[in-house]
């Protein structure tokens, strides 16, 4: 729990954490508290914010409630962000760990394989994957995961390379422990902090990627998301600024909060950095 305590002394990170908790609550409970469907055409189109107290943020090109869109969009953004990061970790960590631990030709083969993904610009690759498998929340999540695991693999490999000749690892090996045990029980726990920091930043990147895909019209047509809202409002930005402004702010705040928390975690988990702060 010392991590949380350290985090709470860092005001900026604490702010990020509070925002994030709020967003998660909105994502989980919002649709129950705010029942207006984001697709329902509730009033006349292009109603500016604050004109009608029931429609605080106004209506979009088709008379749909912008606030409802934001509330329902929070769920999809966070969900895609979290799950795609989780999948990316599930691919990247084992690959990096195997490569770093065994070295030699295994390392060579796995790293060349990773480079295949790294040489293709990740956003372009994501577009191609989504376009091939028809846009849906599944294909988007998988596409984002597939383009974001290589840095994880490289990071974990680096950590393993540095740790595999440490005395405690040698001791474990002499002890007759299996490779699997050494990787999972001895080395992996010691690489967790950089992975956690990286993961928090990956969630932010994933949210941006999802928004960018939806913005380009490659979002799941069944689901209201922030990126879709901006994409649909882009063309009327001169007539109706609020349609792209509010979802834009939502994305900016979410990504900022995640970055602040990531930064805070980095400082809290990295003894060198946290020491500096205390001095």
């Amino acid at each position: 729990m010392s991590i949380l305590r350290k985090l709470s002394t860092n005001k900026v990170a604490l702010f990020g954490l509070i925002v994030l908790v709020f967003l998660v609550l909105v994502a989980i409970f919002g649709p129950y508290l705010y029942e207006t469907s984001p697709w329902k055409m509730v009033n006349r189109p292009f109603m500016p914010p604050m004109e009608n107290t029931d429609l605080m943020l106004g209506t979009d090109t088709m008379g749909r409630d912008v606030l409802a869109g934001l509330v329902y969009g929070a769920r999809i953004s966070l969900l895609v962000g979290l799950i795609s990061t989780l999948i990316a970790l599930l691919i990247g960590v084992p690959l990096g760990a195997t490569a770093g631990y065994f070295g030699g030709w295994i390392d060579e083969a796995l790293m060349r394989f990773t480079e295949i993904f790294q040489t293709v610009p990740s956003f372009a690759l994501a577009i191609v994957i989504v376009a091939i498998f028809e846009p849906s929340v599944y294909s988007i999540t998988i596409a984002i995961a597939l383009v974001s695991w290589p840095p994880v693999a490289r990071l974990v490999r680096g950590e393993f390379l540095a740790l595999r000749n440490q005395e405690y690892v040698l001791a474990a090996r002499l002890n007759g422990q299996t490779n699997r045990n050494i990787i999972l029980r001895e080395i992996l726990p010691n690489t967790l902090s950089p992975i956690i920091v990286m993961a928090s930043l990956m969630v932010a990147t994933a949210i941006l990627l999802e928004s960018a895909l939806s913005f380009l019209g490659l979002g799941d047509p069944e689901i209201m998301s922030w990126g879709y809202m901006i994409g649909a409002a882009r063309t009327v930005i001169r007539q109706a600024w609020w349609l792209s402004f509010f979802p834009g702010v939502a994305i900016a705040i979410t990504v900022l909060a995640l970055n602040l928390v990531g930064e805070g975690l980095n400082e809290a988990l990295n003894p060198k950095l946290s020491g500096k702060r205390e001095s």
Binding site: W39, K40, P45, F46, M62, A232, T235, V236, Q239
Partner: protein, 519 residues
């Protein structure tokens, strides 16, 4: 901004005020700057019939007739025409002072060559209609006789420039039409002569000094500008670089802003010949769409008035049935499918609809169509029909319609001024064939309808055709083979200094011979 709908309404009223200004005498001279979107592949209108080709070349080439906004034929290259009592022999008398842009005289030999040789080979849409023509002969230099096998109702509607353009015999006879180098330097009889084409930038045409209509054209020259980006086209109009934005060249949502500018006029006339008709394809083959009551329920569930106002800025008209109210033979007395969700629910209950979800495939033609699908999806969900939205691109959409792999989708088709040309093709059972997204894609088959369409095409005179088309419309509206949405309108936006711009049923396609600029 909050008065958007009001603005659209005001904009729709604007052309009236422009007409009042037209009391002034036409003045000669001036340069007109127009947008053409996208850049045409060629200007040889006899070979290429793409919309942008027609839009430019319709001012360089001409047909025998022109059509006013009620689709009544008017003289152009032919000064008069008559048909025999039974409607099988049509005689056209040509103007005698017409010359091609290279100075050679235009005669009946050019007409026979153009229709019988050139267009029969190059224009598949006209070729189908020419099946009804037995022979085309030229008794003298200025008379042409069309002998038909049987009366063909739409015949007199075929002479528009885009459908039956006159091409010069002395240039094309005995050559390979498609590779003739003259295709790059079009020679017609029209009010403007081709001058220069800077690919990717502009097409330039100049006044034909020897034009056959006295006092025309008024304009000195025309530039058709190629501007690939919709937003840039709007800006070019705002800054005054462009005088005329033909229908469809800017996005719908930009229309109220552009028409709200000072000295900006708008008209939705000039599409009568094409009368684009939008509908929802309903795949009649599969449950639940195979049940007539389900299809009727869809009609009652859709709020088409809302879609018209929110998505088309109030332009267009709710389509009552298969035939556009802007063309001939539209039946005024058709029953209405008004927006009535309760009635839709009753029909669904009556048929025992089990809630099977259906797929809805939007047309990938840009944002308006995507939003339209979202609106209809919401309408349907409110009466208890759940839809899965299918995302696709243009190629995929064509493919899925052609393979009948869809439940609901969108399309819009031109009517070409006559139900036998542009309507029957979507409903007759002969036209059920995989491989095309433009035929009877919904799979509707009704012997009675087939027979009525068949008889109506060759009935004579028009009053008899009207009676048959009335029956067919009643039957189709009862059966709802497709869900008719809107008679689309693509408003033309132009600087009010341009007068008499839209003068025919094909609008900007042959507009500039009579237009003039206030000096």
């Amino acid at each position: 901004m909050k008065k958007l709908l009001l603005q659209a309404a005001l904009a729709a009223a604007l052309p009236l005020s422009c007409i009042n200004v037209q009391a002034a005498e036409p003045t000669d001279g001036g340069t007109l700057n127009v947008v053409v979107q996208p850049e045409p592949p060629s200007l040889m209108i006899g070979i290429y019939s793409n919309a942008p080709t027609q839009q430019v070349a319709g001012n360089i080439y001409e047909g025998l007739l022109r059509y006013d906004k009620n689709l009544e034929p008017q003289p152009l290259l032919a000064k008069s025409w008559e048909s025999s009592e039974d409607g099988t022999t049509w005689t056209f008398h040509l103007k005698e002072n017409v010359t091609w842009h290279d100075g050679k005289p235009f005669t009946s030999a050019d007409v026979v060559f153009s229709v019988d040789k050139f267009l029969r080979e190059t224009n598949s849409r006209l070729r189908q209609s020419l099946e009804y023509v037995d022979s085309i002969t030229a008794p003298d230099d200025y008379t042409v006789v069309f002998q038909l096998k049987e009366p063909f109702g739409p015949f007199i509607g075929l002479f528009e420039t885009g459908t039956m353009p006159m091409v010069p015999k002395h240039i094309y006879e005995g050559t390979d039409y498609k590779t003739n180098p003259a295709n790059h330097t079009p020679i017609g009889t029209g009010p403007f002569k081709f001058d220069e084409w800077q690919k990717g930038s502009y097409i330039h045409a100049v006044r034909n000094e020897n034009y056959h209509q006295e006092g025309l054209p008024h304009l000195d020259e025309i530039y058709w500008h190629v501007i690939p980006d919709a937003a840039s086209r709007s800006v070019a109009y705002e800054t005054g670089k462009i005088d005329v934005l033909p229908g469809g060249s800017v996005e719908n949502f930009d229309i109220p802003r552009l028409t709200g500018l000072e000295n900006s006029c708008v008209t939705s006339e000039g599409w009568e010949y094409f009368s684009p008709h939008a509908w929802l394809w309903i795949n009649n083959r599969n449950y639940p769409m195979s049940d007539k009551r389900f299809r009727q329920a869809i009609m009652y569930a859709m709020d088409r008035e809302f879609a018209k106002n929110a998505l088309w800025n109030g332009y267009g008209k709710i389509a009552k049935g298969p035939i556009s109210s802007k063309t001939k033979f539209f039946d005024e007395d058709l029953p209405d499918y008004e927006y009535n969700p309760e009635k839709a629910k009753e029909l669904l209950e009556e048929m025992g609809y089990d809630g099977t979800p259906v797929r809805l495939m939007p047309m990938p033609y840009g944002e308006t169509w995507q939003r339209w699908a979202e609106a209809i999806r919401q309408n349907l969900s409110e009466v208890g029909i759940e839809t899965d939205m299918v995302a696709t691109d243009v190629a995929g959409w064509n493919q899925k319609l052609s393979d009948w792999d869809y439940d609901l989708s969108f399309s819009y088709l031109y009517q070409y001024g006559d139900p036998a040309l542009g309507v029957s093709r979507s409903y007759i059972s002969d036209n059920i064939a995989k491989g095309s997204p433009w035929n009877n894609v919904e799979g509707y088959a009704n012997e009675k309808v087939d027979q009525l369409f068949d008889e109506a095409a060759t009935a004579f005179p028009d009053s008899k055709r009207a009676e048959l088309y009335k029956q067919v419309q009643q039957q189709l509206v009862e059966d709802v083979p497709v869900g008719w949405l809107l008679e689309l309108e693509f408003p033309t936006i132009y600087n009010c200094k341009v007068h008499n711009l839209i003068d025919s049923a094909i609008g900007v396609n042959d507009a500039f011979g009579t237009a003039w600029i206030e000096q």
